[in-house]
């Protein structure tokens, strides 16, 4: 182009900036959306890769349930390409955190590979310290400084993901046996301690996805993992693992520099994988042989021990019987001797009592005699006293008389009186000894003293009667002395006999004690013997079936698959890959619409410019410019718009689209950062494609005009050619209101506008309908599942080892008024038709009739569900995504790597995000060789509080826990909802942009095109309102048509978009969505109305005098 032509080009851009901007914007939208969404995946992958590199995520993870030994590791390290290896152990533990039982996956804290990144605190350095995954820790309410105590039901076990499912299975781990060589283990033995102090919150490259569902599957009844934990290697009991390592992380330097999700990585990884797999498989085989041999030997030893034990029990029983007989005999003998002693003692007891009676009698006699003598002595003293008192009285009277205190008469009288008394007193005693007592008076008062003395002198002669015998006092005294002597002798004899008797008794009781002690001792010995015997019997009883079981297991002990998992098996990497694919798929479906609309916009915009400049073009042609030169000018116009649009779009894609999706991903993945991605090749491809398409549209738009001769072009724009159409000949046509005829003819004669308006409105509607269909159908799929497939909303986990646990729980739930159905629900690895390995859940009803109440197996293809069939009914996603058909073989792999094959009998309706297969009990037994023991009870608790229900089930034997299945499944849908929510946001934003750019532009263009007609009408008396109405009729009709077309297009696109975001495990509803259609209609109508109203504002600004310009 010549310089002036370039100047004219830019002048043209300025003049027609709205059209230029329209092209630019649509290119920007198409490019922005496509690149933004396309790059969201690589950006996610880059963010993941940064995280993987930072924590040195393993390139391979070898998982072998029996574990590899240190020697094996040495050999593995020498495999070509392997740069470093690091073994780990893992165990599933249960801890009560804030009152809730949590399943914790405890792993070895590695030093070089899969190194956790410390977010807070410090990594554990001693065996009783533990680090927790930050996201999970926050979820369960744990923090640095807390203490976690594991309760004793832990186990080493597998994961739900393909890798973890191969981890050491509890029932095949050859562990230390307690006499019977059992392979079962108590969980606590995997860890040396039970109480750990949380020293750090970390994030691990192995678990970049935030959702706990990606942590894998535990061996707990619920199967879930709530918390991830790392402890130092020494915290594990190596012997519990037979000194093996179930998981070995491998790093290969040749992969270190490659992006994980790149083809180069996959290729290089695939090449290395085979070599590692070969070596690991050989090592695993050797390990298995070794363990198999050990197990056989231990079973033999256990059998021998059991036999010996049985013999010892028999001997013990005989010894015990003998002992009991001997004890009984000795006891009887002792008791007889004691009875004899007792009789002797009782004889002496009689004698003792007799002696005591005699002694008492003697003592009474003596006391009586002593009483008599005491009375006699008392009487003697009284006589003396009488004498003494009389003497004293005489002296006193004499003194008084001498002192003349009394008269003689008084003296005499006093003596007489006193003497009279003395006479009486003495007479009582004098009579007993026959001594006469004179009457004493003042005359013989002194005689009284003599009488008294005489009585006293004869006192010993006083007669006393003692024991019926009368004697003198003196005799009595003699007799008393003799009695005393006899009593003293008797007492001495008695006192001598009593201790002897007491000693006899003591001996007797000691005899009893001894006998009892001996009997008790004998009894104890017998009891001990019996207890020992019972224990021995119990041990035998306990170990005998264990041994039998061990024998059976040993007989069936098979080699497990030694799985070598590349990074693609890492759940975080798998999630990143899945969402990368989803966004990538979305980019095409979304960008396609914008590219189509953009092309139309470009075509119409350029077409309009060409028509507006038709005279100018004619002039140029007339002046000698070639068509090619004029075309080049228009192509350059479009090219500038495309390039500018591409740049704007790229910036928009990076900042807006990538940003929005990045925010969603940030909520799903624990990445340190989310750097935006810019891919040069794709950018150029897209720009080139846009250039080709838009320039093609531009060429088409101006081709026809530029073919015209200059003279024709100089005549200016030709008015649209009206022609009488067939329908105008119908009588019906004439009967139609004029405005309808006007609308029809306007539409028929202005197809360019009709098409562009319909496309614009349809585009807006389609975007909204697509977005909401995607969002709503994902959510509705979840709802649909619980309406039509699952008749339960909760799962009661039971201990399958407890006999009849499921039935008891079922009964308890039914008593509560809930519908409950026991089933076996078990996870397997599924070998998919695409060669990948996924997970599948197998459900086996225990009671088919009840099962139908809780689980509706609605076949979408194949046969009706038949529990007696040997086949399985698989969720519909398996057919949809892998093209599987009825009759195909479904290959299951159990946790030990054993493979089972079953024919597919049908595909059933299933809307959740995993594969599920239903089969009958017979089919299960035929397939897996064991009975399908129910391990869960499916229950519809309706709106009841789950905790209340669970609390009431606590007392039921074998009940473990009650989980809200509906809510837990919802989290998986939430992940999709977050993505689809972002898509809705983007789509609606884009819809609005499209409305602004397309509809507003179209409306403005339309009004400008109709300006002349409108001014004519307004000159003729149309008010602004009339003019707006006149022009709006068309728009209303076109908008309605556009909405209908958009609705249909949106439903189709929605269905396609839903299909593109479906992971291989899921099928979502793709049916037209009422809400989407409703919102699409209303949203588009509102946008169309707003844009129309904005554009119609121009009508009021029309200058009627402009009619002179036309």
């Amino acid at each position: 182009m010549k310089p002036t032509q370039v100047k004219e080009l830019f002048a043209n851009i300025r003049k027609t900036f709205v059209s230029f901007f329209s092209i630019l914007m649509f290119v920007a939208l198409g490019v922005g959306i496509f690149l933004g969404i396309s790059w969201a995946g690589p950006a996610l992958q880059n963010a993941a890769d940064n995280e993987f590199d930072k924590g040195s995520l393993h390139h391979f993870q070898i998982q072998y349930p029996y574990g590899l030994t240190d020697d094996d590791l040495t050999k593995l390290a020498k495999v070509e390409g392997v740069s470093d290896i690091e073994p780990t152990r893992q165990s599933f533990q249960t801890a009560t955190i804030l009152g809730v039982e949590r399943t914790v996956k405890v792993q070895t804290l590695t030093e070089r590979i899969d190194v956790p990144d410390v977010i807070e605190g410090e990594l554990p350095s001693s065996p009783n310290e533990i680090a927790l995954n930050e996201v999970a820790a926050i979820n369960v309410g744990c923090n640095v400084g807390d203490t976690i105590t594991f309760i004793e039901d832990g186990n080493a076990g597998g994961d739900d993901d393909p890798s973890a499912l191969l981890a050491q299975p509890a029932d095949t781990a050859v562990g230390e046996s307690e006499g019977a060589g059992t392979v079962d283990k108590d969980g606590m033995k995997y860890l040396n301690g039970s109480t750990y102090k949380v020293t750090a919150l970390v994030k691990s490259p192995e678990y970049v996805a935030r959702a706990s569902a990606t942590y894998g599957l535990s061996t707990s009844p619920t199967g879930s993992i709530d918390l991830l934990a790392w402890v130092p290697a020494e915290a594990f009991d190596a012997s519990a693992f037979q000194n093996g390592y179930p998981v070995v992380d491998v790093v290969c330097n040749s992969l270190t520099g490659l992006a994980t999700f790149s083809d180069n990585y996959k290729k290089a990884s695939s090449e290395l994988e085979q070599g590692i797999t070969d070596v690991a498989t050989d090592l695993a085989n050797a390990r298995f042989e070794d363990l198999h041999g050990q197990a056989g030997k231990k079973i033999d030893d256990a059998q021998q021990q059991l036999d010996e034990g049985k013999q010892k029990i028999a001997d013990g029983e005989q010894q015990l019987a003998d002992g009991r007989a001997e004890l009984e005999s000795k006891k009887a003998e002792g008791e007889a001797k004691l009875a004899e002693g007792y009789q002797t003692l009782m004889y002496y007891e009689g004698l003792k009592k007799e002696g005591e009676a005699k002694l008492a009698e003697g003592r009474a006699t003596i006391a009586q005699a002593e009483g008599l003598l005491a009375e006699a002595d008392k009487a003697k003293a009284e006589i003396s006293k009488i004498s003494s008192d009389a003497s004293d009285f005489k002296k006193d009277q004499d003194a008084k008389l001498a002192e003349k205190k009394i008269t003689q008469e008084e003296y005499d009288a006093n003596l007489d009186a006193y003497g009279s008394d003395v006479t009486d007193d003495l007479k009582e005693y004098a009579d007993k000894v026959g001594i006469p007592v004179p009457v004493i008076d003042h005359t013989n008062f002194n005689e009284a003293l003599e009488v008294a003395n005489e009585i006293t002198a004869h006192f010993e002669e006083f007669p006393v009667t003692f024991q019926g015998e009368t004697m003198t006092l003196a005799q009595a005294r003699v007799r008393l002395a003799e009695g005393r002597q006899q009593l003293a002798d008797a007492e001495a004899q008695y006192n001598e006999a009593v201790p002897k008797l007491n000693a006899g008794w003591a001996q007797y009781y000691a005899g009893w004690d001894e006998l009892n002690r001996l009997v008790a001792e004998g009894e104890q010995k017998l009891a001990d013997g019996e207890a020992e015997l019972a224990e021995a019997k119990e041990k035998v009883a306990e170990n005998e079936p264990k041994l039998e079981k061990a024998k059976q297991r040993f007989a069936s002990m098979k080699q497990s698959r030694c799985a070598v998992m590349s990074r693609s098996y890492n759940t975080g990497a798998a999630q990143v890959s899945m969402f990368s694919d989803i966004t990538s798929n979305l980019s095409f479906s979304m960008a396609a619409l914008f590219i189509i609309v953009g092309l139309l916009v470009s075509y119409f915009a350029v077409s309009r410019i060409v028509h507006e400049q038709i005279t100018q073009i004619g002039t140029k042609k007339a002046l000698g410019l070639r068509s090619r030169e004029i075309t080049t000018s228009f192509l350059a116009y479009s090219a500038i718009a495309v390039v500018a649009g591409a740049i704007v779009g790229t910036i928009m894609g990076i900042l807006l689209v990538e940003g929005i999706i990045g925010r969603v991903f940030s909520g799903m993945f624990a990445f340190g950062g989310y750097p935006p991605y810019f891919g040069v090749p794709l950018f150029f491809v897209v720009v080139l494609l846009e250039l080709v398409l838009v320039l093609g549209a531009t060429y088409l738009a101006c081709r026809r005009i530029l073919k015209e001769h200059a003279v024709e072009l100089l005549k200016g724009e030709k008015p649209p050619e009206g022609k009488t159409r067939f329908y105008e000949k119908w009588d019906l046509w004439d009967g139609l209101p004029l405005f309808i005829q006007t609308i029809v003819n306007n539409c028929m004669n202005d197809r360019r506008r009709v098409l562009s308006t319909i496309v614009g409105v349809a585009g807006c509607t389609a975007l909204i309908v697509t977005a909401i269909t995607l969002n709503d159908n994902v959510t509705k799929s979840y709802d649909r599942h619980y309406e039509t497939v699952y008749g339960f909303n909760a799962i009661a986990y039971v201990d399958a080892k407890t006999d009849g646990a499921a039935d008891e729980v079922e009964k308890a739930l039914e008593q509560e008024g809930y519908t409950a159905t026991p089933v076996l629900r078990q996870r397997f690895i599924l070998t998919q038709p695409d060669g990948n390995r996924g997970a599948i859940r197998v459900v086996v009803p225990s009671d088919e009739s009840k099962f139908a109440n809780s689980y509706h197996v609605n076949p979408v293809s194949g046969n009706e569900f038949d529990p007696s069939s040997d086949g399985v009914w698989v969720s519909q996603a398996y057919a949809d995504h892998f093209g599987a058909k009825v009759g195909d073989i479904l290959t299951f792999e159990d946790a030990d790597g054993r493979m089972y094959e079953a024919p597919i009998s049908g595909f059933h309706e299933f809307w959740l995000t995993y594969h599920e297969a239903v089969m009958g009990r017979d089919a299960y037994k035929n397939l897996f060789g064991e009975d399908a023991v129910p391990n869960v009870v499916l229950v519809d608790v309706r709106d009841a509080d789950l905790q209340d229900v669970a609390q009431r089930l606590e007392s039921v034997n074998g009940f473990h826990s009650l989980a809200d299945d509906k809510t837990s499944q919802h989290s998986a849908f939430e992940t999709f909802s977050k993505v689809s929510g972002a898509v809705v946001l983007i789509y609606i934003a884009l819809s609005t942009l499209m409305a602004i750019v397309v509809l507003l532009n179209l409306n403005v263009m339309f009004i400008e095109e109709k300006k002349r007609e409108l001014i004519v009408l307004m000159i003729n008396g149309f008010s602004v309102k009339d003019a707006r109405h006149y022009i709006s009729y068309d728009n209303i009709v076109l908008t309605a048509i556009g909405i209908i077309v958009g609705m249909l297009l949106g439903c189709i696109m929605g269905s396609i978009t839903v299909a593109t975001v479906e992971p291989s495990t899921s099928v979502f509803l793709k049916s037209p969505d009422g809400l989407a259609i409703g919102v699409g209609i209303v949203g588009s109508a509102i946008l169309a109305i707003i844009m129309s109203l904005i554009a119609l504002r121009r009508v009021s600004n029309f200058k009627l005098t402009d009619i002179n310009r036309f």
Binding site: G722, M1018, I1019, N1020, G1021, D1026, L1104, F1110
Partner: protein
């Protein structure tokens, strides 16, 4: 010979040539007045004709200047014109004081008179009227020299009357439908203000066919826009049937157009997606008592093409549909803007015939044209120049469309 004498003789010669070449008396007088006004450097001039057979007053026969004297008349003795007619002596009011002679001052309504010369216009047998010259175009005052020339020229014009037939009776206009006073219209473009109309005073009479003639940019379309209610004057007053629309709102103007005005455009401006009859129906629906669309098409003789789309019609047919569309509302006034400009001669005559039919039906028509020949059909012809009315001619004998040749 000095320049003034040379100019004098030159003017005489021009007048003689004009009169000699004129086919009618009116033409001769109009041509003569133009020559005199231009030669004398007057801003305006008028020939007042005494209607002796009628009311005896002096009526404007022809005039030049931005005023509409159509309905103006002077009784003999009234004002300068009346006085000159009565006295048959010229009046030279070189420094005219309007306050002293109000009657004379309002002769040129809307045009302030600062200098005036009135000379008698008489044949040898009778007094015909007065020739009035108003203001010098250069803003100065007339001189005696100017007045001398004017008198001689007036005499020469009078001679022409003697040599031709008698002047027709004065035109009797109908009621005033529209009245424009001192209408100006300015357009602002950035800092530049363009004055398109510089003070127009014009009445439109019921039933008349008024032609607005002028060069491009003279303001005739702008004037048509204002009388059509499509535009408003910057200043001045515009009344329709006595209703002042000078400051009417857009809604009021819309109502005015809807109820009273029919429009005919140069480029037809038919709705391309509607048939002929639909185009009429679309507009007919705006009024309470529209003319029947078929009837309107009958007027323009296009009944047989009523279901044709504009693109299926020739230019003339489209314009006739446009005329029918203007008619269908039964408007008081039809405004036509260069209705034949885009048409060839034969087609133009067809269209003009249709218009003639419309006017004959009693509808007032204001037509903008630059085709002098078409103005022969008009009752009055207003020539515009530089945003002002330059001259107004009353056709005493309007021609038929079929008589027109160009």
């Amino acid at each position: 010979m000095d320049n003034s004498m040379l100019k004098y003789f030159k003017t005489i010669g021009e007048i003689q040539g004009t009169i000699a070449n004129a086919t009618t008396l009116e033409e001769a007088l109009q041509g003569g007045l133009k020559v005199i006004v231009e030669s004398a450097g007057a801003a305006g001039g008028a020939i007042w004709y005494a209607d002796k057979a009628g009311d005896g007053a002096l009526h404007p026969y022809f005039w030049i200047g931005p005023v509409d004297l159509t309905r103006r008349s002077h009784a003999p003795g009234d004002g300068s014109v009346g006085r000159v007619f009565e006295s048959q002596r010229a009046e030279r009011l070189f420094e005219f004081d309007a306050t002293q002679d109000v009657e004379t001052a309002i002769d040129f309504m809307g045009m302030p008179v600062t200098s005036m010369v009135c000379v008698p216009f008489s044949s040898q047998t009778e007094d015909l009227g007065v020739v009035q010259f108003v203001n010098r175009a250069d803003g100065g005052s007339f001189t005696d020299e100017d007045a001398d020339v004017m008198e001689i020229m007036a005499m020469m014009a009078a001679i022409a009357v003697e040599e031709n037939e008698e002047l027709a009776a004065p035109w009797q206009p109908g009621e005033v439908v529209m009245e424009l006073r001192d209408i100006t219209r300015e357009f602002q473009n950035g800092e530049t203000v363009t004055k398109v109309l510089k003070g127009v005073n014009l009445d439109v009479y019921e039933g008349e066919f008024l032609a607005l003639l002028g060069e491009s940019g003279c303001g005739k379309s702008t004037l048509l826009n204002i009388v059509g209610g499509m535009d408003s004057a910057t200043s001045g007053t515009f009344t329709y049937l006595g209703r002042d629309l000078s400051s009417a709102s857009q809604d009021e103007l819309t109502e005015f157009r809807r109820a009273n005005i029919g429009f005919i455009f140069q480029s037809y401006n038919l709705m391309p997606n509607l048939t002929a009859v639909q185009n009429l129906d679309l507009i007919g629906e705006l009024v309470d008592e529209p003319m029947d669309a078929d009837e309107a098409l009958e007027v323009v003789k296009l009944s047989d093409r009523k279901k044709s789309y504009p693109s299926q019609l020739s230019g003339g047919q489209q314009q006739r549909v446009s005329i029918a569309r203007a008619l269908v509302k039964n408007p008081k006034v039809i405004l036509a803007d260069e209705p034949t400009a885009a048409l060839d001669y034969a087609t133009s005559i067809e269209v003009l015939q249709a218009l003639e039919e419309v006017v004959r039906g009693g509808t007032t028509m204001v037509m903008v044209t630059h085709n002098e020949e078409i103005t022969r059909m008009a009752d009055r012809v207003v020539r515009m120049r530089d945003g002002r009315m330059h001259e107004v001619t009353v056709n005493r004998h309007p021609a038929h469309a079929t008589d027109l040749v160009w």
